[in-house]
């Protein structure tokens, strides 16, 4: 019962870890190169979810400096959001580069399934 309460209290962290595992599983098990790239994105987004939820406070608002900041109001930690923004740019460029390689592989082999590529390579 204890672990159940721990999970429900911190469910974003739990979801992030589950997504991370799903992403790794997709990368390792799927034979289709596109699905592998989708797996990368699921994995990286799980990390972003973890970071964002670690900085979040329920009922908090964005820490914008306006006239008269009240001390009673809760503010969300802005640093994880900045980190995630950088991370999204990085993962976007990795995805774009991977997709362009997949196009090249499709030109060379006529397929993007790993097992068919292996068959073509071993038959030559």
């Amino acid at each position: 019962m204890d672990i159940y309460f721990k999970i429900t209290a911190n469910y974003p962290y739990f979801v992030a870890m589950v997504l991370f595992c799903i992403g790794i599983y997709a990368i390792l098990s799927q034979a289709n190169l596109m699905k592998k790239i989708i797996g990368i994105n699921i994995m990286v987004n799980a990390i972003f979810l973890l970071l964002i939820s670690s900085g979040n406070i329920r009922g908090g608002i964005a820490p914008l400096q306006e006239v008269g900041l009240s001390t009673e109001q809760l503010y969300v930690n802005p640093l994880p959001a900045a980190l995630v923004l950088t991370g999204i740019v990085v993962s976007l460029s990795v995805t774009a580069f991977a997709l362009s390689i997949v196009v090249k592989i499709n030109e060379y082999y006529g397929t993007i399934e790993v097992n068919e590529i292996l068959e073509i390579r071993s038959s030559q």
Partner: protein
């Protein structure tokens, strides 16, 4: 000029970064000048790195707050002995490899891509320099990704089936690796609330008894993440394909520098954040020791089975990375210093071997190691440099490889595990078993019917000259190893107080 860079060490990274983006412009206007410009950039970077080395040998540590924001808020750049050492190694090897590629590149990559090739090359160098000097966790992640993508571009530069497939494999695994590293950084940030390595270490020392499982998770995530990137033995599967199918200058730089910089990052994370005692208690050190020894044996055996020369060299890298991890795992000051010293020695040796393999392929078109009979007579300079680097790999005295193996053996005795002396000797024999037949064939197996006449290599000047310089450096630091050794010892003392 040195004063400016001493006051703002980050300028070194920015200088290379800006030069990288200028390369396509230079290529557009003056095609021939592109290589010379890259050479000049790396030469200036080498001079500045050597001035940093001089400063750290005097015992000074340079600290710089980027953008004027002091440490816990802004990004901090730190020049300590290990970063100065890595800066000098990166600049030196990259300088020689660029000198080689000035005349080799038009033969290796498509004509129109040469400008962009230098761009990615310098981007990779800038990212590695950034990783060496940064003291901030997230900044490290960003540089890791920049280095990863530009390394992939360097592999795919030649085009063709094998290179494309190897690049996809490398990109996939490198992204998984950096994903693991980022997860570790995120978990550390959640419990400490800091990203600066010093502040994280201070905070973690207070809170770590509350999070025993989390410390385990972070340590293993860092080991897997950096292990994939640095090709530690069971995680090395991408390395042979990627390093053997890339163009020659790319293979040289990937094998001699790129895998090492991740080891340096792992060293910084492990020893500066967690400290040696925690690593020892949690048995992570012993795990690294086991993986390192497995890498030394398995890498050499795989290398023995390869017939393609570049693949054989790539598998030999897996074994040599094992030495560096062995030095880290020993945990004694001499062992760690030997591991750090081997980063430099292996970088020079492996660059020399890969460049020689490229030169052999250019003149004879031969990739198979069993068809190199009598090649020592038609390419004496190349095969001479190859032999010197191979002897150094085996660990013969008077060559630099001997120095790092000697200190590794001393370190394992100091750590109280003399068993590893036997492992080092055994692996030296294994190295000999796959390098010496090549040299034997090249110089002593001669066809009786058509005796070979000794002729000088038919290579452009810059290719032969860079090989000769690397061979001379191997001999010089094999006879007078004081300079890199004292720097490595200073770095090791920083990690093991």
């Amino acid at each position: 000029m040195f004063m400016l860079f001493e006051a703002h060490p980050l300028l070194l990274v920015l200088f290379v970064l800006m030069a990288a983006l200028l390369m396509p412009t230079i290529f557009h206007f003056r095609r021939r000048l592109c290589g010379a410009a890259a050479l000049l950039v790396m030469f200036i970077a080498l001079l500045i790195s050597l001035s940093f080395v001089r400063l750290t040998l005097e015992g000074r540590v340079l600290s710089y707050a980027v953008g004027g924001w002091p440490a816990p808020w802004g990004i901090e750049v730190l020049i300590e002995p290990l970063s100065a050492f890595m800066l000098a190694v990166i600049s030196f090897v990259a300088l020689i490899v660029i000198f080689y590629s000035v005349s080799a590149l038009e033969w290796e990559v498509p004509e129109a891509g040469i400008g962009w090739y230098y761009t990615t090359f310098l981007l990779l160098i800038a990212a590695m320099k950034g990783m060496a000097i940064t003291n901030d966790l997230f900044n490290m992640y960003v540089f890791i990704e920049v280095a990863g993508i530009s390394a992939c571009v360097l592999i795919i530069a030649k085009g063709g089936r094998e290179a494309t497939e190897a690049t996809f494999k490398y990109l996939l695994l490198a992204t998984v690796g950096s994903g693991f590293v980022l997860m570790g950084i995120a978990l550390l940030y959640m419990v400490t609330g800091n990203l600066n390595i010093d502040y994280v270490a201070r905070e973690l020392a207070m809170v770590y008894p509350q999070y025993p499982h989390l410390i385990w998770t972070v340590l293993s995530f860092f080991l897997v993440g950096f292990g994939i990137k640095a090709a530690l033995f069971p995680l090395h599967v991408w390395l042979p394909d990627a390093h053997s199918s890339a163009p020659t200058p790319s293979s040289a730089i990937l094998s001699s520098l790129v895998v090492k910089i991740y080891i340096v990052a792992l060293l910084k994370f492990y020893f500066l954040i967690f400290g040696f005692e925690l690593l020892d208690q949690l048995l992570i050190r012993h795990l690294i020791l086991m993986m390192g020894s497995a890498a030394i044996l398995a890498g050499s055996m795989f290398a023995f089975a390869q017939l393609n020369l570049k693949r054989r060299l790539a598998y030999s890298s897996v074994a040599q990375i094992g030495y560096i991890f062995l030095g880290i795992g020993l945990g004694s000051p001499i062992g760690l210093a030997a591991g750090i010293l081997h980063i430099f020695n292996h970088a020079v040796m492996k660059a020399c071997l890969f460049l020689a393999a490229g030169a052999i392929y250019r003149q004879t078109g031969e990739k198979n190691v069993n068809k190199l009979q009598g090649i020592g007579y038609s390419m004496p300079l190349t095969m001479g440099a190859f032999s010197i680097a191979a002897f150094s790999m085996v660990g013969l005295p008077l060559f630099s490889g001997f120095i790092s193996k000697w200190y590794l053996a001393l370190g394992s005795i100091e750590a109280g595990i003399p068993m590893f002396v036997g492992l080092i000797i055994l692996s030296g024999l294994l190295n000999g078993s796959y390098f010496l037949p090549i040299i034997w064939q090249a110089f002593f197996v001669v066809d009786k019917h058509e005796p070979k006449i000794l002729t000088i290599d038919k290579l452009p000047f810059s290719m032969s000259a860079s090989l000769v310089v690397l061979a001379l450096v191997i001999i010089y630091f094999g006879v007078w190893p004081q300079l890199p050794l004292s720097l490595a010892q200073k770095a090791a003392n920083l990690f093991l107080p």
